[in-house]
């Protein structure tokens, strides 16, 4: 199981509604994934600033961490969201932040980083997770979300999606990979590290490695069709939009809708049913083994 949602806004007038619409879509996927949920939101970015989403053991812990970071890096700013914090630093200070986290932030996880991307994920019902982090008040150009029904590894926050694959990039996955142990072994030989036994973390690591080797995200997905065995629908978030890929058999569901105002993705049509103007939208299923991108 698992459910995926995605919303890419074309009409800037709808951007303030991004969080509210995404929260509604995420909640519709509760039956497909009641274990945990997560989402990536691409909001406003500031040139020369990098946003790093951090997760602490608790809201109190991350608050203390943020206070310490602000003391260590004077230019740092932060927005607290329950046990997550989005720390914004001048891009030249990212190395200092990483050094501080390596030294003093052992209990803090880096969930994602980029100019615009913020990632939040936690164990619990999708509606509760969305509420905890205040998704419905967030605005931006696009968002992707995931509800998880665990099959390949334990129900933990680390097992929740999205997984970051690079700066301003993340991946969500519906399905299961059958060769993730082999791929993980191979990637470890290439020097990559993995935190969990989760198959999606391997897919994210695989894409990161391919792009590090020089491929574009689209090409990395394309060669992934050969290397990743199993069944999957992937949705990847990028700074400017999102991409969709289904395996060649396409047994995992995917429905898309497009209007003048947005492109939306859902594991099932139910996800799309409350979007504005859905009655007039073009609704279709993406083809198997075909990489799609919507960007602006």
């Amino acid at each position: 199981m698992c459910g995926i949602v995605g919303l890419f806004i074309k009409d800037p007038a709808l951007e303030p509604e991004l969080g509210r619409l995404t929260a509604g879509m995420l909640e519709k996927m509760t039956e497909r994934g009641p274990d945990s949920a997560g989402f990536a939101v691409y909001g406003a970015g500031v040139e020369g600033q990098t946003k790093v989403t951090l997760r602490g053991a608790s809201a109190e812990a991350i608050k203390a961490t943020v206070a310490a970071i602000k003391k260590a890096i004077p230019g740092a700013e932060a927005a607290l969201h329950d046990n997550h914090a989005v720390v914004s630093v001048p891009t030249e200070d990212v190395a200092r932040l990483d050094a501080w986290l390596a030294e003093d932030g052992q209990d803090t996880e880096v969930v994602g980083r980029g100019t615009r991307m913020e990632i939040f994920k936690e164990v619990g019902l999708p509606a509760d997770v969305a509420e905890r982090f205040g998704l419905s008040t967030m605005s931006g150009t696009h968002a992707i979300g995931h509800t998880r029904m665990a099959t390949e590894s334990a129900v933990t926050t680390d097992g929740a999606h999205p997984y970051s694959t690079g700066k301003d990039q993340c991946l969500v996955h519906n399905g299961s990979l059958s060769n993730h142990n082999n791929v993980r072994r191979n990637l470890r030989r290439e020097g990559m590290t993995f935190e969990t036994q989760n198959d999606t973390e391997v897919a994210a690591g695989y894409l990161t490695w391919r792009m590090h080797e020089g491929l574009s995200l689209g090409d990395a997905l394309e060669v992934g069709l050969e290397d990743l065995d199993g069944f999957y629908t992937f949705v990847v978030g990028t700074e400017n939009g999102f991409g969709v890929l289904r395996d060649g058999i396409a047994c995992k569901p995917a429905v898309m809708a497009e209007t003048d105002q947005y492109v939306a993705f859902g594991s099932e049509y139910r996800v799309l049913a409350d979007l504005p103007g859905i009655g007039q939208a073009r609704v279709w299923e993406p083809e198997p083994a075909t990489v799609y991108f919507w960007e602006r």
């Binding site: 569901p253 429905v255 049509y269 139910r270 996800v271 799309l272 409350d274 609704v283 279709w284 299923e285």
Partner: protein
């Protein structure tokens, strides 16, 4: 004529009410509003009703249908009319995967496209798709007819038994043991009959279809292959 708004009435209540109807009921026409992609709407009907559903439906709509006419004014999710026994199911939009799967009788008409695995393991149902069908359609199809006005995706009729496939457009590829066969007069008559029952007679000349079916080399055990098992 009962009108049910699924934005107000719970789905189980609607299906429960439909299931309770005796075969000689006077309440033969039901209208369902706001389906919003919900699953299993009007599944398991067993009376000669007409159910109009105004909007898109989710999984397994009109599944296991017996006797009823179900008209979906919108698109349908996975497994529309799956395991239908008799009756008529009409989708005015597109259908997702596995439309008409394992159907034993009745007629399923889809005005748009059907996605992958349309008519998978069909066992007697007739399916008319006015658009195209996706990959692995009629996989292990055993009996019945699949009529496609448009094209068919990869591996049409893979491991097919005795179902008949009539496709007017291009076939991306035929599956294992599925071959093109001669379109004789009896087959044109059969297509004419199906199109008439689907209410689309006169739109396409039956002679425009090509017929595909089983080469019958796969589904019997071949002793020469015994060493390969």
């Amino acid at each position: 004529m009962p009108e049910i708004d699924l934005g107000v009435t719970p789905l189980r209540e609607l299906n429960g009410a439909l299931h309770k109807l005796p075969k000689d009921t006077n309440e033969t026409h039901w209208v369902i509003e706001n389906p919003a992609g919900g699953h299993a709407i009007a599944a398991g009907l067993d009376a000669p009703l007409t159910v109009d559903i105004n909007g898109p439906v989710g999984y397994y709509c009109a599944g296991m249908n017996k006797l009823a006419t179900v008209q979906i004014h919108g698109s349908a999710g996975v497994g529309v009319a799956e395991n239908m026994m008799s009756g008529f199911v009409h989708v005015s939009g597109d259908a997702s995967q596995a439309a008409g799967a394992t159907g034993r009788g009745g007629l399923l008409r889809i005005d748009g496209n059907a996605s992958s695995r349309c008519g998978i393991s069909m066992k007697g149902i007739d399916i008319v798709v006015k658009g195209s069908v996706g990959h692995m359609s009629a996989f292990m199809a055993q009996a019945g007819n699949l009529v496609v006005f448009g094209d068919a995706g990869d591996a049409l009729g893979d491991s097919i038994y005795e179902a008949r496939l009539f496709v007017r457009g291009n076939i991306k590829s035929l599956g294992a043991d599925c071959i093109e066969k001669e379109m004789r007069d009896e087959h044109k008559a059969a297509v004419h009959d199906i199109l008439t029952r689907a209410g689309v007679n006169g739109q396409i000349d039956p002679s425009e279809f090509k017929r595909y079916g089983s080469a019958r080399k796969l589904y019997n055990f071949n002793v020469d292959h015994a060493g390969e098992y």
